[in-house]
């Protein structure tokens, strides 16, 4: 009972720096400082993922740390929530086109809250964690929780133009010829 109450009122967070430039990480540290003070919401920063309810991830995913991120996520007990802090964690941000960047953390773990910003402001980070705590509470009660999507909602594609009426009758020999040609090529050394 106490634990269930605690999930909503006092979520414990663990922070993992994936591929970040440190900008979002130091804003997370600023959240812990007396000016912003995460603990007034009962949010406690812990080092062990096995104690945590909310995973805060900064930075994009690369080939090396994807496994570590998955590992940290898997160690957390259910119910759990993931907050992507900053644009790099959301989509890859400015580093999206780098050869070693796979993209946002959604490639590896399901994300519940996206926090925008480069770097995300402490107010935005706190807002994100509070939103994640609400989702945790819904998940505990077994209610459906929607996941946000970064892909903008697209309109129905406009209908294709009607196919022109076939005027030229198909020649009977044409389908067989292109199929036979590659087979002959493959045989030749």
């Amino acid at each position: 009972m106490l634990r269930q109450f605690g999930l909503k009122k006092s979520p414990w967070v663990v922070h993992f720096n994936c591929n970040s430039c440190n900008g979002c990480d130091i804003e997370l540290l600023a959240c812990l400082s007396p000016l912003y003070d995460l603990e007034r919401f009962g949010i406690i920063h812990v080092g062990n993922p096995k104690h945590a309810d909310v995973l805060l991830v900064t930075g994009s995913v690369n080939h090396r740390n994807a496994r570590v991120l998955k590992n940290v996520y898997d160690q957390m007990p259910e119910p759990k929530a993931v907050v992507a802090v900053g644009v790099c964690a959301s989509t890859g941000g400015i580093f999206r086109e780098c050869y070693n960047v796979l993209g946002g953390i959604e490639e590896v773990v399901p994300v519940d809250v996206f926090v925008p910003g480069c770097p995300a402001r402490p107010e935005a980070v706190i807002d994100g964690i509070v939103k994640a705590a609400e989702k945790l509470d819904l998940r505990r009660r077994g209610q459906p929780v929607s996941r946000p999507s970064l892909v903008p909602e697209t309109h129905e594609p406009s209908p294709k133009p009607a196919a022109p009426p076939e005027t030229v009758p198909a020649t009977p020999a044409s389908p067989a010829a292109p199929v036979a040609a590659p087979a002959e090529l493959a045989k030749t050394p």
């Binding site: 130091i26 540290l29 000016l35 740390n65 580093f95 086109e97 070693n100």
Partner: protein, 359 residues
């Protein structure tokens, strides 16, 4: 014969804000060998810098590291300006100096907070972060963002600091220095801190020189090496002298940064007093050609960019060597022989920035 154990330290560890793994080989509680495993923060930024326009690169290179971001952009701009043969207006140079020193102050305060956290002094960690918010406020007032200022551009700066804002910087620095005096007393004289830091992770002057230590690590070992002496910005006119300590232990490295905080505040005050009245930037045409090695003193030490341009809008090669990379060899020299409980303190005492190192 005691048994050897290997302890993986990281990549996700409460002491590190960033992922790096140190494989510590222990004999009982004593570290025999430390092997770093890196690559967790490698993005491939150097390659991306070659694909983007050299003017867009300013914003990309600023994001090599979020803690000393302004100085990365400043160094890149200085390198490109050298290639283009641009004479940057005096006011821009002074404004760059003010923002660079504000960044150094917030970086050093963050270091002090993390150091207090590394030996479990939670109260001091909180108070230092409170002091750091004063500096972040000043950056937000002058540039509009707390961390990524993006005020530096090729040929000068993009924003001016108004007289009202200068006054606000003055009062902000007063407040920061007042709380710094209280914090400095705690850092310098507290019994617990002295027991945890003095004689820990000693790097002698000879070894620091041999291993190529830079920045506060070198200065704490008595090497007065600071690129600000070379005069890339109006530092010589403001009477800059590097701060050194002699003991070369974790305590000396902390004291260098503590004293540099006051020095930076004084440099900002002096620069504000002599701010010349010139335009903010010079226009330029064309693309850079040639090679340049741009160097700057960042909060962690010497930052070196190699830029090769071929007259097109894309750079041919961009290479960065950051201070933490230079300080990793001294760190690996300090670790063997120490207790396991001292490893976090020693690692934090070089103020590692892994995101800089791996780019």
């Amino acid at each position: 014969m005691s048994q050897r154990t290997t302890i993986p330290f990281g990549p996700q560890h409460p002491v590190f804000p960033e992922p790096i793994q140190l494989r510590l080989i222990l004999e009982d509680e004593r570290v025999v060998e430390a092997l770093p495993a890196i690559g967790y923060v490698h993005r491939g930024l150097e390659k991306l810098a070659e694909q983007k326009d050299f003017q867009q690169d300013v914003f990309l290179i600023e994001r090599i590291c979020g803690i000393c971001s302004f100085m990365h952009a400043m160094n890149y701009c200085q390198g490109i300006e050298q290639l283009l043969g641009l004479a940057v207006p005096e006011r821009a140079k002074y404004l760059r100096l003010i923002w660079a020193e504000l960044h150094r102050m917030h970086s050093h305060l963050l270091f002090l907070a993390l150091l207090a956290d590394s030996f479990g002094f939670e109260n001091l960690f909180m108070q230092t972060l409170r002091c750091r918010e004063e500096i972040l406020d000043l950056m937000e007032i002058t540039a509009g963002n707390r961390i990524m200022l993006t005020t530096c551009c090729i040929g000068g700066v993009r924003k001016d600091i108004t007289p009202d804002q200068l006054k606000r910087i003055g009062t902000g620095l007063d407040r920061a220095q007042a709380s710094l005096r209280e914090l400095g007393g705690a850092f310098a004289k507290d019994y617990t801190i002295q027991r945890r830091l003095k004689g820990i992770g000693v790097l002698t002057r000879e070894k620091a020189h041999e291993l190529g230590a830079v920045g506060p690590v070198a200065k704490a070992s008595g090497l007065a090496m600071d690129l600000r002496q070379t005069g890339y910005a109006p530092y010589p006119e403001l009477g800059f002298n590097p701060i050194t300590e002699t003991n070369g232990d974790a305590y000396a490295r902390m004291m260098v940064r503590l004293r540099e905080l006051d020095q930076s505040a004084e440099l900002i005050r002096a620069a504000m007093g002599r701010l010349p009245d010139t335009p903010l930037s010079v226009p330029f045409k064309g693309n850079p050609t040639g090679e340049v090695a741009a160097r700057i003193e960042q909060s962690r030490g010497e930052l070196l960019f190699f830029i090769k341009a071929n007259g097109s809008k894309n750079l041919e090669r961009f290479r960065a060597r950051t201070p933490t990379f230079a300080n990793l060899a001294p760190l690996l020299h300090m670790l063997p022989g120490c207790e396991l409980a001292d490893v976090p303190v020693i690692v934090v005492s070089i103020d590692p920035c892994i995101s800089c190192t791996e780019r």
